[in-house]
Amino acid sequence: MSEALLSVRDLSVEFVTYGQTNKVLRGVSLDVPAHSQVALVGESGSGKSVTMKAIMGLLRSPPARITGGQLLYDGRDLQTLPHRERLKLRGTSMSMVFQDPMSSLNPVFTIGDQMGTILKYADRRLGRVRSGRERQARVQEVLSQVRMREPERVARSYPIMLSGGMRQRVLIAMALLSEPRLLIADEPGTALDVTTQAQILKLLKDLVEARGLALMMITHNLGVVRETSSYVYVMNKGVVVEHGPTAELFAAPRDAYTQALIAAVPRLTGGTRFGRREAIP
């Protein structure tokens, strides 16, 4: 199974705070093959975000410490890779779509400035040369790829001038700037209204399929998992408790936690019985 674009092998992470050691990930393994759509689902505290941060090299150490396991990207071990080489991958070949809130955009620079800066540094790391004008052309190209109707106007706008849905589109555009092979999406659209969220998920899916990207969707929403992935890993308390093709796993979950989690989701068709129920393990 070495063909996977991203492969996490037996990853263990612990956090040391106030002299106490917490094992946050205990032997997590998962594969994201090229051109595939994989979801990592779990509730708060399950370890899904820590897994994502370990992959992206965003874990702060201390307090975090990777105590075991391997992170393989395109056959290369990310942990033993020289720092410079790792930087070359991050934000270029492997790219992230962050959750909307205003917090991921700088309020005092225009969208065009911010995207231009990202592109400039990505180019520099990869040893590419592009003029400012060429960069802005690329920025507008990507903005129209995320179906922004007036890319020039958006590029001139400050984040506060855009709606939540448009800001989320900008964040997707930022991730696409350097033509990545792997997109890691962290709960995109959860801060948005349900109709806007549906638009964003459809856009993301269309882009991933049209460009043959690999997508790793990190979410707590089982509905989002079903809409955006063909394979799913379910995490609970730092362990992958179950994984399999999304449709099969949802139809017949084997693990007790997954079963309880799926049973807890209210159904649009009704029939979810509220009132006394058994405790969730």
């Binding site: 209210p266 649009l268 029939g271 509220f274």
Partner: protein, 296 residues
Amino acid sequence: MTARPMLELVGLSKHFPVRSPFGRITGAVRAVDTVSLTIPRGGVYGLAGESGSGKSTIARMIMGLTRPTAGDILLDGENITGQAGTRAYGRKVQMVFQNPGSSLNPRRTIGQSIAVPLEAHAYPRAGRAARIGELLDMVQLPADFARRYPHELSGGQKQRVAIARALAVAPKLIVLDEPTSALDVSVQARLIDLLVDLGRQLELTYLFISHDLSLMRNFAEEVGVLYLGRIVETGPTASVFEHPAHDYTRLLLASVPVISAEEEAMRPRIELIDGEIPTAEKLLARRQASHLPQDP
């Protein structure tokens, strides 16, 4: 049915003035526009809508935090439009807010927080500690939680405390404003279980405000869909969900991420515009352009 409804809203409106930079009133935003609804005693009414639909403004008017521009609010048959916000009224209507993290005072213990409504309503001092223990028990929290502080509690536990505080004065109607939107799905399920059980035991009437249609389908008996301050569709939850008549309801239902093929089959199909799921404005504009009747 001879019983009086627990809550009745009749033509309720709230307009906010729009002012020019010099303070002149140049127009009005119709945040809530002639909304009427009726909730029977012990019923659960779901108010569904997205941001800007006016659902929170309705909640604020019912709680007496905002004065309506027009219309009446009848609680248990009594018109309370003028007296909303008074003590006597507060005894009958309570609210549970969305974010349990910010609705509890971090410097007060849980017991002190629950005691606030008891003090305000002159509950006998001698019985307060016992009442707090009883309330914590009702929301299935151990009695020693009274001595803890909010930061020691999980999100679900904090929301239980908020419910206990709302129940302190034995109200008849509880307004639930997105009570579970900040919680994990398993925690949400247990909190809704609790609300259902309490509703039965105490014969509570709920106004449940949410954007989560799947949850609404399973909790509310009747539903009203709000769009730009107006109820565009209303009826028993099951029939509105199975046969949505209004384009906006259809769009909302079509947008819900679901987890089974049965649910997917039930979702309305919305025609894409320019390869995209249309926004509500676009969808409704297209309906108008085609001169098809919409309002039933």
